[in-house]
Symmetry: C2
Subunit: 426 residues, 2 copies
């Protein structure tokens, strides 16, 4: 459904030995990250320092504005270039990392990923979070509104809301359990204290590229060109705070204390071989209105999972244990293009580096639910863990690990790395 | 209730002649703005170019970091300095603009305000909008939930949500009527088209100063030091879009197409003489929980108003006509300090330049309601205008003008200037 090129071929060795058959970062991936040394690209277990690569002569044929963008510390400048230039840079990376003639010049620009301190790959001007998985919306709705799980607007409007940019943190940043105002079900008055129902949410984050001017929409047919790449995203949530505060204007303190993203932006171009058709809407559902309708609309064939791991602050420890596994292409009611088109349909301007969360990604089965609220059905069906403990919600000392891989027959699988967060006491 | 100093004295002439008895910008005000020439301070009908003033020798005694902050193009760097330094700069401005010995050196750094092109005074990292006027919340609630106008959380939680930073625009920026998805009351399915119920919202915007680290709250007793200053704010709203989209996660496209702010940040220090006690809560209302309780909590004595003016794109024109007038100190249920303390109470980090809208400011009487939704009671009681037309909601060619003044016996009144927006057709 999209044109593939030489960077997507399955048999293409890199002179970086660890890239061969690498489960996350083979040469077909080449995701962008940011270390203290500036922009970096993952290849196998290593990362290429882009400033050093430029100094070694790589990219000499790029236009000056692209070379300038690559010297910036974050991806925003590159993401503001046209998509053709994203592809040009990808091709130049691919060629240099697969051509032995480049090895002597570029090897000094490689560092083991384990030696780098990763930072947020982009400056997020605005962060939006959607609610695009119909299974998630149905599950949560049936807990809070048993008579009407899905509101009448759900199948017409890609529901979304604005989140907090300042508290977006990178993989491995500890997350402090938030304190907040809650009212117990049987209480007359609320109290203020540490949240007792801290949760994760398994999401993808779309990183925006390019600009649309205020007042001018990006139409759905052009929306794919507004996605620079994709990260894993954990939209931490305090369910007890949320339940008390969210009427009538939506979530606020229940979510704005932390949002964790993975360090590597997997590019639209790297994900091209994994595009699959959006599943048809169930019989009887309305067709999208014309401004949201895309012939041959697509999504990505991604396998996502959540692991729980605990240091055992209060109990014995436990190695990482998978608690959920879900296919992105089976979970979503609204496609990536529809989210972008909807967001700009009123003229709202999206800027490079802006982040669009998909909302919690839940599939149709219990073990594919993307947050503990659903996974334990509001705490009523606790998870039994291998260390003999159980979880209704997160405990201090728990670490949540999100993982993701793109997998499709005929393509070399690529990975998103990990998105980890460790829960500190309040 | 707070210590005043020489900059608040009533009789203090400036050598800038137009500052004397100026209704907006006497020497007691000294608000911050940004022009193409960098930071500027309003004085009478003029503005002082700060970079030129520094070059002329003003501020020579400031620490280097303050001089550096003042050379920045926006107020964010100054707002990140400690409040003592905000006051030091204010004193130096006041002294130089009232001391004739400075006139020869600083007069060349003055420009008529009418010759400057004003820009957004701050970079807004995150924009939050509250819902802190109980009259507004009660009015809107009684339209949508007649049986329960105020939800149970309202008197416990300062309700707020995150807005869009990218679409914040400065005074006089035209606002295009947004297009969006709406469902008529009697319709089976929604349609997509220009909003038919475009509205304004009269608000104040608190501009944040200083930092709190992620995970560390600013306690209510320290909250005043987190407010650098105040602007007028118009939170444009498409009511038909809002009604259809806002469940369950709050307003999104109904509001993120534009938010207009006034060009001058009136500082906390300039507003000190206008502090008045927060009105007592009505009998029977709960006391705030301890983390929101401030002995001698305060608000500001401000007179705010909305004017409507029309170019008459479709009809004959009309000069500015006042449609609402409200006292801030009679309208709000939650105080400025409570908004800041609540926002950070879960550890959410506020950064310099962040913007906190108060929510629509409505008083107890019909002519003090701060948006057309309330003013015309959802369009059922249209406003009769002097040109013989009526308004349920805004028409193309209308201009909305917000104005504000701080007025209190014994103090020289100061003004906020204007916050204007002209409605363009979709």
């Amino acid at each position: 459904m999209t044109a593939l090129d030489r960077t997507h071929r399955t048999a293409h060795p890199s002179w970086v030995a660890s890239a061969k058959d690498h489960p996350q970062f083979p040469i077909q991936n080449l995701p962008w990250g940011r270390a203290d040394e500036g922009l970096v690209v993952a290849i196998g277990d290593e990362a290429l320092l882009i400033r050093e690569a430029l100094a070694a002569g790589w990219g000499a044929h790029f236009p000056p504005e692209v070379r300038g963008a690559l010297r910036h510390g974050q991806v925003n400048a590159l993401a503001s270039c046209p998509p053709d230039q994203w592809r040009m840079v990808r091709h130049a990376l691919f060629d240099a990392l697969s051509d032995r003639d480049w090895e002597a010049r570029l090897r000094p620009a490689l560092r083991p990923q384990s030696k780098l301190t990763m930072r947020l790959p982009m400056h997020v001007g605005d962060y939006t979070d959607f609610y695009a998985s119909v299974h998630h919306a149905t599950n949560v709705g049936s807990m809070f509104r048993p008579d009407q799980p899905l509101l009448p607007n759900y199948k017409w409007v890609p529901i979304g809301y604005h989140g907090r940019s300042s508290s977006i943190v990178i993989d491995e940043t500890p997350v402090r359990r938030p304190t907040g105002q809650v009212r117990a079900a049987d209480a007359e008055v609320p109290t203020f204290g540490p949240s007792r129902s801290l949760d994760y949410e398994l999401e993808l984050g779309l990183v925006i590229g390019g600009h649309n001017r205020l007042g001018e929409a990006t139409v759905v047919a052009d929306a794919a060109d507004r996605i620079f790449g994709v990260v894993l995203l954990n939209d931490w949530s305090a369910r007890d705070v949320q339940a008390w505060e969210y009427q009538p204007l939506g979530p606020f303190l229940a979510k704005n204390f932390a949002t964790t993203v993975s360090p590597w932006i997997v590019t639209m171009e790297a994900l091209k071989p994994f595009r699959v058709p959006m599943p048809p809407r169930p019989a009887g559902d309305p067709a999208p209105l014309p401004h949201l309708a895309l012939a041959d609309d697509w999504t990505w064939a991604l396998e996502l999972e959540v692991e729980l791991w605990t240091l055992g602050l209060h109990k014995k420890g436990m190695p990482p244990h998978r608690v959920s596994q879900v296919r992105f292409d089976e979970a979503m009611y609204w496609s990536p293009s529809q989210l972008v088109a909807h967001h700009t349909s009123n003229g709202c301007n999206l800027n490079p580096g802006d982040l669009l969360g998909t909302g919690t990604i839940s599939g149709p089965t219990p073990d594919s639910r993307g947050c503990l609220l659903e996974r334990t059905w509001r705490g009523s069906e606790p998870l039994q863990l291998p260390d003999g403990t159980e979880r209704r919600f997160l405990e201090d000392g728990d670490q949540v690990i999100l993982r993701g891989r793109a997998v499709k027959a005929g393509a070399v699988p690529i990975g998103f790395g990990a998105c980890r967060g460790f829960v500190l006491p309040a």
